[in-house]
Structures are given as structure tokens and as C-alpha cells.
Amino acid sequence: MSAMGDWIGFVWGWLATHGDIIIIQTVNGIVTGMILALIASGLTLIFGIMDVVNFAHGELFMLGAYVGVVVLSISGSFWLALVLSTLVVALIGAALQITTLRPLVGRDPLNTILATFGISLVLQNYALWQFGPVPRKLDEPITGQFVLFYLAYPWYRLLIALLSGAIIGGLYLFLKHGTYGIWIRATTQDRVMAQAMGIPVPWVHTGVFAIGAGMAAASGVLFGPLIGINHAMGLDWVLKAFIVVVVGGMGNLGGSIAASIFVSLLEAYAAIVVSPAQAVIVSFVVLILTLLFRPTGLFVPTPK
């Protein structure tokens, strides 16, 4: 009992002396988790409705950031860049779905995986050719900071989290109450019946791919000011997005969002006690454990 008491005392003491870093890492984990959730929700939406594992999602994220750079340089407005970039990449997504993925409907899933992988290579090399190797700058709309213990924490990071939450919330409301949202849900539940009821399923697929692409683009513009925009920027995010989509349950929107925040928080907390290289392993450990013990996803109700 006294050993247990000592242990509790040690943990309590550690938490008391590390309170500042725990709060900082909580904020970091939530902010990173919300960006990841925005990327992953597009990915999981596309998978949930179309059964397409979109390997080009990271490149749509990157393309969004580049379109944002172009619009910002012309208009000077970050918000216009955010909106236009979302719309332009959504249109590109729709065109890609019609020309590349629609002809593959009904084929082996490997075909769509290879097709989206091909699209990712084309988009990546197009960006390198069109915009060149030099990273570009996307200016943040607000530059202030507030004191968070020993750090000057940028307000913009909190804004990203809020905007990501707002976009995801908007998507939820659209799916729940919008007419086209109901079409999308109907298509998810029973594709054949939805078609029989007069829902244009192929166009629903196109619309869903466009929404997913638009969300990737929006996250690219929102995250862009924190890095240099470059042709390979999508690679770093898309792997993590795939992890949270699997951990959250393939095609489960709510699960992916919860998994994004869960994994990001775990990594942020792990960084307090272990090296960054060990902290990034956490997400892979969660992935492996999920596949072993709950392959349908951590945030999916257990089938009865």
C-alpha cells in the first residue's frame, strides 16, 4: 500500500512540476489534431461512400496550398485565397473523378489504388514543373501571439483549429440536414436502393470526391503559413491521415476526427518524456494495436 502511495505521490509530483508543458502539449495536440481531422475527414468521406482509397489526397492538399499562394499574390486576401482554392481544387477533384475513377467503378479496388497513386505522382511532378523547386510563402491572416507559460503562442494556430472545426461541423450539418447530404448518406447505406429511388449515384460520387478534394485544399491553405509551400508537403500529412482513418474506422467520419485528436494528443504527450523520433512511433503503435485488437476501428461501436 505504501509502495502504491509512493507511486501516486511521484506521479502527482511529476504532474505538478510539468503542468506547463502538459497544458502546452494539450493545446499543440488539439491544434495538430484538428488540421489532421480536416484532411482525414475528406479521405474517410471518399472511402466511406466510394470505397476508394485516395492516394492522391496529399497532393490535393498541396495543390490547394499552391492555388492559395497564387490567389493571395493576386488578391492580397487570405480569406479569398481560402475560398477560391477550395472551389478550384474541388472542381479539379470532380474532373479527376469523372475522367479517372468513374470508369473504374465495379473493378477490383487495386485499380483505383493504382489510379489515385498515379494521379498523386502526376500532380506532384506537375507542381514541381509549374512552380519550381523553391518553397513559397503563404502569409497568415493574423500574426499576434499570446503568452502560454514560457512560449509566445501564435493566435493563428488556434484560429486554424477553430476554422477546421467549423468546416467539419459544416460538413456534418450538410450531411445530416442538406438534401444532397441525405443523398450522400443514402448512397452510403445502400447504393442500389439509392439508385432505384432516383438518386444519381455517379454524380453523388463525383460530388463527394469534390467535397473531399475541397477539404484537402482548405487544410492546405490553412496549414500553409506554418511551413514553406512545396511539392512534397502532402507526403508528410497523408501517411498520418491514413493512420487515423484506419484507427477511427475506415469510412467513419466521427471516428476519424476523434482518432485525429487522440493520436495527435498521444504524440504530443509522448514528446514530453521521450525523443521526437520515439514520439512519432506512438501513432504506428496505436495503428498496429488497432489492427490487432479492433480492426473495425477504435471509435466504431462493437458489432452485436
Binding site: 491544434v31 519550381g132 513559397r136 501571439q145 512545396n230 521526437p276 523520433a277
Partner: protein, 433 residues
């Protein structure tokens, strides 16, 4: 089908008798003829060499993947040197044919592509290599096939120390020499206590060790280190941990991770709280548009800076600079200035040329003669080596050259001190097997 039936345009092309089989054959022959003509008509420089067999120089570069940005500017340097050599009559009267391979920024792909260059393309020599893990993975292949490997960018210390090879040369600097050059400045002018943030792979780790050793030798201390894994999208969780009683943060990162590091360190107020310094790769000219004011005041060390101030105000550097700027504009519309990758690739090919001429190199059968010619090679500042004089040491195939300590003011590099090559020399730590 009636005449009024709509005809699918693609179907129509084949069935509406607009393209007959005979006409199609005609198109085919014409196309083949045009292609053949382009092969028969020689490239402008080829005519000057008659039937002389070209030297095949292979160049492994990361033209896609995470390091593609540096790979592209590197290739500009190689191409500049090869064009200049061919324009001036080639090497030993023979033209140079450049064979480029893309390693996709991955060691396994790099190894495979190098095998192809060596076995299928039968290159005579190699000049390239960007990421250190790719260079290290490929070094055994050059040794097995007995081909000289002139490294052009890879900076991992072990390439010319514990893993050195008789076939591999590094005609530019490495971390121990740079650490010797900048450590006194860091400790005496910026602060005694440092925290090192580095990219957590072979180059970052070996460079961290070199700087730690020299900072301590000069009376300073490294009180903490943060290794950032390659491919970290958001570094904030790791940067948030960097705190404590020290004077400055010394960064060892390159490319996009360096831009992310400096941007996020600035956003978190670290740049105001601590002095920011580091390897010159952190603030290459190609990073400046993305960094804006976030790199202001950064102090670094680099072998090359894209400035025309003394001692780089020479006519040869001006010629190199102008040619590089014109070519870089072709690959990037923003018109970047040359970086150290353009410079070291350009000079590495020129060093190879001098070695091949001095050894009367004919092909792989003369590899040992070429190695002997390159060992101890003194490179004199001029059109071949606009960066300055260099010595390619015989004992470890490592070059020593002058270094520039600089800072960033108004988004531009400003030379603070020049450290001559004699002051950067460290003892060799290589035993060729």
C-alpha cells in the same frame, strides 16, 4: 446507318474514311523520318568531336520526393559544368555525355539506379549524390565496379572518416571542418550555452556530434539536443519543449524541414528569446522567399553564398553567378539565386575533368590512375572553382576550403567573417580497406 446519324468523333476518325490505312502508314513513316532526322542531326557540340567516343558521366540526383528542390538546383550545377567542358573541347578531346538518374530521395531506389548506371549505362565516372543516406547506401556499388564516385552534396561525416572508400571523393567541406571554423565565433561572440536541433538521420547526427565537440573545445557547452525526424509535418510539439537557460539554438536542417523549423520557431517566439544560428543549409537562397522576415538575424556558416561582395567579387564568380541565375530561372519562375548545391556540383565535375586530364583517363581500366591524380589535387580559384582554392586531401579524400560566417539582413546574406581553408583543417580519420 443513315447519313444523318450522329457520329462519335473518335469512331468517326477511324470509320469515316478520313484516315485511311495508307494515310496512317504515311503518317507513321513521316513521324519515324522526323525522329530519325533528329537523331542524325548532331547536337551543336557533337559536331566538333567527330567520331570521338564520349565519356559517360553518371549523376544520381533526387529529382522527385522530399529532396527534389535541392536535386534540381544540383543538376543545374552539373549541367553548367558539362556544357562548359564540351564547349571548350571536352576532356582529352572527347565529349562528355551526362546520364542522369533520379533516386526519388530514397536509399533503396538510389542503390537500384546506381546499379543501372554502372551495369547497363556503363558510366566511366560518377558525380552526384545529395542525401547522405543515399550516398552511404550506394558507396559499395562504386567500389565493387571500381568506378570513381565524386560526391557533390552529401555531408555525412562518416563518408570520409569511418566509412571512407578509396573510390569516393568529397571535393567540398564537411561538418568537422565547418565546426572548427565557426565554433570560436559561436562561443566568443554569440554565447556559451547552446541547444542543438538537428534532422534525425545520418547527416544530422554526425553533424551534431562535430559541433558539440568543437563548441565544448572552445569553452562553450551544448546543454540539450532535439532530433527532429524526417517527414515531420508539424514540429510545434517538439519545438515547444525547447526551453531553459541557454544562449542560442543551433539548427542542423536543410530544405523544407529547415523552412518549417525556422517558421515555427519564429511563431513560438524562440527566435526572440534565443539567438538563432546553424548550418548554412538552413537559409539557402532558395529558402528566402518562403522565410521572409522569419530568418532575420540568423547567423550561419556556409561554403558558398550568392553574393558578389569580397572575397566573392571576382570575375569568375560573377560569370558563374550570372550563368547559374539564368539557368535557375528556367526551372523556377521565381528566379532563385544559386545555392551551395549548384556550386558544389559545378565544381565537382570540374575537379573530375582535371583529374581525368592529368591521368590521361581512357575508361574504367584507368580508374586507379584517376584516383591517384585526384588524391592531393590542389584546385585553384578561377572559372573552374569560383568558390575559392581547395585541397583534396590524399589520406581521406576530403577537401578543405574557405568558409563564410554570415548573417541574414533584410532577407539577404551578409558576410561577417571569412575563415581561410588552412584554419578549417582537422586530422584525417580514415583507413582505406
Amino acid at each position: 446507318m443513315s447519313d444523318n446519324d450522329p457520329v462519335d468523333p473518335i469512331e468517326g476518325l477511324w470509320h469515316a474514311r478520313k484516315v485511311t490505312r495508307r494515310r496512317l502508314m504515311g503518317y507513321g513513316v513521316a513521324t519515324a523520318g522526323a525522329l530519325g532526322a533528329t537523331m542524325v542531326v548532331p547536337a551543336p557540340w557533337r559536331a566538333a568531336f567527330g567520331q570521338a567516343k564520349p565519356y559517360k558521366i553518371g549523376s544520381l540526383q533526387p529529382l522527385s520526393g522530399v529532396a527534389a528542390a535541392g536535386g534540381k538546383t544540383s543538376l543545374v550545377g552539373v549541367q553548367m559544368a558539362v556544357d562548359r567542358i564540351n564547349k571548350a573541347g571536352g576532356i582529352n578531346g572527347r565529349p562528355v555525355e551526362l546520364i542522369v538518374a533520379d533516386d526519388e530521395s530514397k536509399p533503396d531506389v538510389g542503390r537500384r539506379k546506381v546499379e543501372k548506371l554502372l551495369v547497363e549505362d556503363k558510366i566511366d565516372v560518377h558525380a552526384g549524390g545529395f542525401l547522405s543516406n543515399v550516398c552511404l547506401a550506394c558507396m559499395p556499388s562504386y567500389e565493387e565496379t571500381k568506378v570513381v564516385n565524386m560526391i557533390t552534396v552529401c555531408l555525412d561525416t562518416t563518408i570520409t572518416t569511418s566509412k571512407c572508400s578509396r573510390y569516393t571523393f568529397r571535393p567540398f567541406d564537411y561538418a568537422p571542418a565547418q565546426a572548427v571554423a565557426i565554433a570560436p565565433y559561436l562561443v566568443n561572440k554569440l554565447g556559451k550555452k547552446w541547444h542543438i536541433a538537428y534532422l534525425d538521420y545520418s547527416w544530422g547526427q554526425s553533424t551534431r556530434d562535430a559541433y558539440t565537440e568543437q563548441i565544448r573545445k572552445n569553452g562553450g557547452d551544448v546543454v540539450g539536443t532535439t532530433g527532429i525526424p524526417l517527414g515531420t509535418a508539424d514540429m510545434t510539439a517538439f519545438l515547444s519543449k525547447i526551453t531553459g537557460e541557454f544562449d542560442g539554438i543551433f539548427g542542423i536542417l536543410f530544405g523544407a524541414p529547415a523552412v518549417t523549423f525556422l517558421s515555427q520557431a519564429y511563431d513560438l517566439g524562440l527566435s526572440k528569446k534565443y539567438k538563432m544560428a546553424g548550418d548554412g543549409a538552413m537559409v539557402e537562397a532558395t529558402h528566402m522567399p518562403a522565410l521572409g522576415q522569419k530568418a532575420e538575424g540568423f547567423v550561419g556558416i556556409n561554403r558558398y553564398l550568392p553574393v558578389l561582395d569580397p572575397p566573392l567579387n571576382t570575375p569568375y564568380h560573377k560569370r558563374f553567378f550570372e550563368d547559374a541565375v539564368a539557368r535557375l530561372k528556367q526551372i523556377d519562375p521565381s528566379g532563385p539565386l544559386p545555392d551551395r548545391y549548384t556550386q558544389s556540383n559545378y565544381e565537382a565535375v570540374n575537379a573530375l575533368r582535371i583529374g581525368m586530364e592529368n591521368s590521361k583517363f581512357r575508361g574504367r581500366e584507368d580508374t586507379m590512375k584517376l584516383i591517384e591524380a585526384l588524391e592531393g589535387l590542389e584546385m585553384k580559384e578561377g572559372d573552374d572553382f569560383p568558390q575559392g582554392d581547395k585541397l583534396l586531401r590524399k589520406e581521406d579524400h576530403q577537401a578543405f576550403l574557405r568558409q563564410f560566417i554570415f548573417d541574414v539582413q533584410d532577407g539577404k546574406h551578409r558576410i561577417l567573417e571569412v575563415v581561410e581553408k588552412e584554419k578549417t583543417i582537422v586530422p584525417p580519420a580514415c583507413t582505406f580497406s
